[in-house]
């Protein structure tokens, strides 16, 4: 053999290592490039998240504060409870609006003209009387006293205080009149204006007034919907995947089903809404606009995602593990539940995370089942009328009032926080199950 290193005489004129070394630089360049591309890809992915987050947070963080005006309100007993019986019903029905207006008027004795007064009153939120009413009903001992009370300001004033309205612009170019700016300036000087934490946002349902609008209704709606959707879609998806991948005979029919499920993932989500409308609402009489029907529709929508990823995960479990279990006499079902499922669980959880994220952010199918709606009351069950976070976001994003811009972003933050929470458990579980073999 002329060439000592060759397995095959004549084929390799040089030693392997020489060939390897000759090409190594190129291969390494490729390796580095590949790795770099990978790092860039991850970096890009993370950068997009950061970018979108920064965008959302920078637009929305101001919504967590709300402008209030401190007014010395006299809670005249004769107005609130003329009979003096402390009867809750009569306390509830009192004219709180008058009390607050009187208090404001005291601050500006010079305003007397009727239309000017009306404009003055409009710096307060229309919801202010109700908030005062709630407060008094909580603590009837306030009746008859005089209190410095933080009264909610109108959304335009809120925007003004937050600097979203340019005080130097021409009067016609802004929502707030010069006169109102004057009043606000005066109140600011007296230290009567303050931005305080916006509890309303977290405790109230939606409203047409930005300052009164809260996310609680949509949040609870999403909570009920997603809980139910998860409870339905995870077992159904995993069960279906398990059956199709591990138990069903492999033939044309199961191929057809596989293709068909892949195809369902590509069906526009609004079509699921049509289906839900026809079947769940039309045929089974499930009530419209409820978390129940939304969850059912979203379940149908997320099932393909969960099934497909679960099947991929099951496929990636090495057959030797199944053989090992079957070999000691485990039944097929035991084999699956004891060995295969735990190993496939990370992929199944990923599918669930993605599916639920999709369901959490989806509006189109809900349109068909009456969830694109204005619903003030916070739902307290699966069959109460409700809306969900993405719908709320969609509706607020489409509202003309300036105040809804920051609330839209704030609502998105809430949605993302919801998503984080939801994913956290799944991610932890996934880490627990993950292993290489």
């Amino acid at each position: 053999m002329s060439n000592p290193a060759a397995i095959l005489p004549g084929v390799q004129p040089r030693r392997t290592i020489d060939i390897v070394n000759a090409s190594l630089k190129r291969r390494y360049a490729r390796e580095r490039r590949f790795r770099l591309i990978g790092a860039i890809a991850v970096g890009l992915g993370l950068a997009f998240v950061v970018l979108l987050f920064a965008d959302i947070v920078s637009k929305g963080y101001t919504a967590f504060q709300q402008t209030y005006i401190r007014l010395p309100v006299t809670l005249t007993a004769s107005v609130i409870d003329p009979a003096g019986t402390r009867d809750m019903e009569s306390i509830a029905g009192a004219n709180y609006s008058k009390l607050i207006r009187d208090a404001l008027r005291q601050q500006f004795p010079e305003v007397t003209d009727r239309s000017e007064l009306r404009r003055l009153y409009s710096i307060l939120s229309v919801g202010a009387p109700q908030l005062l009413q709630e407060r008094v009903m909580e603590d009837p001992s306030l009746i008859g006293t005089s209190q410095e009370i933080w009264v909610l300001a109108d959304d335009d004033i809120d925007m003004l205080v937050k600097g979203n309205i340019d005080r130097d612009a021409a009067q016609g170019d802004r929502r707030v009149t010069d006169e109102a700016i004057g009043w606000v300036g005066q109140l600011e000087q007296q230290g009567r204006i303050e931005k305080r934490f916006n509890t309303i946002f977290f405790t109230h349902g939606t409203s047409r007034e930005p300052e009164l609008a809260g996310i609680a209704g949509a949040l609870m709606g999403s909570f009920y919907t997603l809980t139910l959707a998860l409870a339905l879609s995870f077992p159904i998806g995993v069960g279906a995947a398990l059956y199709l991948e591990e138990f069903a005979p492999k033939n044309r029919w199961t191929d057809l089903i596989e293709v068909n499920i892949n195809n369902l993932a590509a069906v526009p989500s609004i079509v699921f809404g049509l289906l839900g409308l026809a079947v769940f609402i039309g045929f089974f009489g499930v009530p419209r606009s409820t978390p129940l029907v939304a969850a059912m529709v979203l379940t149908l929508m997320t099932l393909p995602i969960i099934i497909i990823s679960s099947r991929a995960a099951l496929k990636s479990v090495p057959p030797s593990i199944r053989e090992a279990a079957l070999g000691v006499g485990a039944s097929p079902l035991q084999t699956q539940f004891h060995h295969v499922l735990p190993l496939a669980m990370p992929g199944m959880l990923t599918g669930t995370i993605l599916g639920m994220a999709h369901a959490l952010g989806e509006t189109a199918p809900l349109l068909m089942i009456g969830m694109i709606a204005f619903i003030v009351d916070v739902p307290s069950g699966f069959t109460d009328s409700a809306t969900v976070l993405p719908v709320q976001i969609f509706l607020w994003a489409d509202s003309p009032e300036r105040g809804f811009v920051e609330r839209t972003s704030a609502a998105i933050m809430v949605l993302l926080a919801f998503l984080f929470l939801m994913n956290f458990v799944a991610v932890m579980l996934r880490r627990k199950f993950e292993r290489r073999w």
Partner: protein, 284 residues
């Protein structure tokens, strides 16, 4: 090689008559006096490729049958068809008759699960579960409810590991993954896992391939001990081992069962040319 078989087949007709009516090509008596498993005319296909051609063989009570033959001749395939492990391979078909204690194991109604609990298997490639060593061994007893409490289970796990000759090496790390063991340790772990459920028939596919002589001796001792109560079929490449542990030996070649007989008989006095060639190493 094809000619070799043809020649052999020609030279076989007398042996065939002696063997029984089912087999066409096997030399020697493939029946056992007191059979647990009775295989007749077993064919196995992988898709359209036939891997086993009409093999008939019994596995008797309290005996060890060893299967030898060149690599790729179908030993594992045949072994796997004895507890229906071939069911898991897509495209693998088994025909013919295989009976355990008179019961056809490929019967439609037969449940392979208790069958596999009765006919245990040690695979050629060690395949521990990605669980702890303890759990690997305890799994079978757990699902079959063989023990009533933790203490019993601990005892059973220890005994199984002891018998497989692994206890000393792993007793301090029972909670560590079985996949972090050395090759031979994994193999013994799989043996321990199998004997922990005390199957009545044990199929062992080269159980000692990754074992040193000492560990091999321990396993062979185990096999001998198990034989007192159970039946064992073992695939091995070591003719010495076959000679040491088995009462009967079956020689496979290209999917055919060429010859079967008393082990000492086969090794001292093979009937078939192929067997002889193989045993004397004159082959290939």
């Amino acid at each position: 090689m094809v000619e070799a078989i043809d020649k052999a087949t020609g030279a076989m007709s007398s042996a065939e008559l002696a063997g029984g009516q089912h087999s066409r090509a096997t030399v020697g008596d493939f029946t056992a006096a007191d059979p647990r498993m009775v295989c007749r005319d077993v064919d196995v296909w992988y898709g359209s490729k036939q891997a086993i051609h009409g093999v008939s063989l019994d596995i008797g009570k309290n005996e060890v049958v060893s299967m030898i033959g060149p690599s790729g001749c179908g030993k594992s395939t045949f072994l796997r068809s004895l507890n229906r492990m071939n069911d898991t391979i897509v495209g693998c078909r088994v025909t013919g008759s295989i009976q355990l204690d008179g019961q056809e194991i490929y019967d439609k109604g037969l449940d392979p699960v208790p069958l596999r609990a009765r006919v245990g298997m040690v695979f050629q490639k060690p395949n521990p579960f990605p669980k702890s060593i303890y759990e690997n061994v305890a799994y079978g007893p757990r699902i079959h409810g063989l023990t009533n409490n933790k203490a019993e289970l601990d005892e059973l796990v220890e005994a199984s590991l002891q018998k497989a000759g692994l206890w000393n090496e792993v007793k301090d790390r029972l909670d560590q993954p079985g996949t972090g063991l050395s090759g031979g340790q994994q193999q013994r772990l799989c043996i321990a896992r199998t004997i922990a459920v005390s199957p009545e028939v044990i199929l062992m596919d080269e159980p000692c391939s990754a074992l040193d002589p000492i560990a091999t001796a321990i396993v062979e001792e185990l096999i001998d001990e198990l034989r007192q109560n159970f039946s064992i079929a073992i695939v091995t490449h070591s003719m010495q081992q076959a000679a040491r542990v088995s009462q009967r030996t079956a020689y496979f070649h290209l999917g055919d069962l060429i010859e079967v007989g008393e082990t000492n008989h086969i090794f001292t006095n093979p009937q078939h040319k192929l067997t002889e060639d193989y045993i004397t190493g004159r082959f290939g």
